[in-house]
Symmetry: C2
Amino acid sequence: VNDHVPAGGAAPADRSETPGLFEQEIREQPACLERLVRQGRAGTLEVAERLRAFGPCFVVIVARGSSDNVARYAQYLFGIRHGLTVALATPSVQTRYGASPSLGGALVVGVSQSGRSPDLLAVIEEGRRQGALTLAVTNDSQSALAQAAELRLPLLAGEERAVAATKTYANQLLAFAMLSAALQGDEEAWGHLGALPEAVAAAIAENTSPALPEYLQETPRLAVLGRGYNFSTAFEVALKVKETSYVMAEPYSFADFLHGPVAMVDPSLPLVVIAPSGRTDEDADAAVELAHRLQAPLAVVSDRAGLLAEADCPLPLPKAVPEWLSPIVAVVPGQLLGLALAESRGLDPDQPRGLSKVTRTL
Amino acid sequence: VNDHVPAGGAAPADRSETPGLFEQEIREQPACLERLVRQGRAGTLEVAERLRAFGPCFVVIVARGSSDNVARYAQYLFGIRHGLTVALATPSVQTRYGASPSLGGALVVGVSQSGRSPDLLAVIEEGRRQGALTLAVTNDSQSALAQAAELRLPLLAGEERAVAATKTYANQLLAFAMLSAALQGDEEAWGHLGALPEAVAAAIAENTSPALPEYLQETPRLAVLGRGYNFSTAFEVALKVKETSYVMAEPYSFADFLHGPVAMVDPSLPLVVIAPSGRTDEDADAAVELAHRLQAPLAVVSDRAGLLAEADCPLPLPKAVPEWLSPIVAVVPGQLLGLALAESRGLDPDQPRGLSKVTRTL
């Protein structure tokens, strides 16, 4: 069931021990992506066909944790490339208040590594009862969630053993990106999808054991900023950092940050700016300028050399990934940052306090 | 233009100076609520009539900052009491990527104190172009947002001068609650709405200058937990704390917190549990149990004496507010907590760094 470490993955620098599960699975991502893009295309085309025939008037996505960050990506993907309004479900409306918001005419998607959280299942079952088109994006095709939905996009990521998700996150993003390419019937897009494993391998190689400035080794908190497609990346990088190093990393869109939280910025609050090239370049530039003006320590994830040069902690991305696919690559330095922060604090990222692989909430 | 401090508001304890704008406006809330529930009813009934005739298939709400936290309340209110799915808009889809997600058949609501942020305006204008029903909830009926929308719910809160919103937040929540009562034609609900000013005055009186345990005076971070109707309250309390004291307060739903962030909990992370009586009682109980087990310092906002007794920092709520209206009262101790945190750190909550009253984002 386990995946092999891809040949392209760089060896850990200056460490003699066998890498832990979290690091192993970060390094498995190129192979996992490659497998899904190759083996998942036919199934994705079938799902796209059903979706086109149904013609949803809006989309509801239900998810928790890392999968919810994938839902944030899908919100922009469906909005920008397919003109669909996407709502992120609020399961407690159903599970705590016993109400059933109208889902008729909607596409209802459940995203979950395990497919085993009862609150997600409840929303999918309600969608199906109301005649919505239901889709499960999960790594376990035998799970209750996968069985409850009419359509399935399997992740083909192999068993994920680390508690903090990495390779299933990458493949969930890819599953949505493939669905988008299939909906548009866009052969050029499939070419870009095929180039992702190499880009992710390059991002791993470039960001293995990043040199951590002292402020990052010691801070109890930091803010992660992103926007548009990479709003999702800001959330996922923040979550990885929290799960592995217990640093309170809070994610924001560049715009929301200016409506209040910016008041916190001073030399005691490191900022991590997620800035792959694209339509939000000027937002990222403004955030970097803000960090300099208020003397906040700054880490930057970007393929733009000029922007990286502005940072105390530059986390480089390979060039030539279209913006709509950039979250699959841009999360990698954040995963490795989480690993480095955990190690610098003497923590084992495979033993996060109070977490187990499957979380069942109602 | 300014409102008078209501007679019911308690005088600040042990302070000889005139209260600042932030504190003044916290104390104006009962009078502002009372004015809106009395003067706003007729207009709200008209909006409800138009909404019933239109029969939206889903709702999109666009907002930033505190107003976005009101949108989170409306998400539960419309979902639980009216069976409507609510999407929170992602304005950058339009303003940065030039895309126009389908809004036909939807109710599109813009929520903004000033009505002057261009990104919100863009979404309302696009909704109107597509034939959606558009509604502006704003404190300035002459603003561009109010003029762009087909329908308006004015807040009647008087000019808000403090940068950190309080009385407009309360009246925004109330405007949605009144719309809900009008949609249901529920006379008992109007009775509950009429009782809110007294409940808010009681919450102010009970939580003025709360005794702050040392851990709250010194912490650089804390987590605020809530769920369901009071997911909004967790977000707004966190935002007030950030804006006034620069403490990084991060909000979570009880359920989302268990899917990762719980790993951070230890004696260095204070938890603030928002727990008015209701359908999420068992979630709140579990959070309190978790705080005890992991020795996290604990503040509790609740009307339940048993739960308050568990907290290092009890922040009491008056009884007898129905759960769907509880966010209007439950935010008050959080506003006063923000004020107390700012004062204990020698900060002026009327001069938050880097903020001005109107934030224009695109």
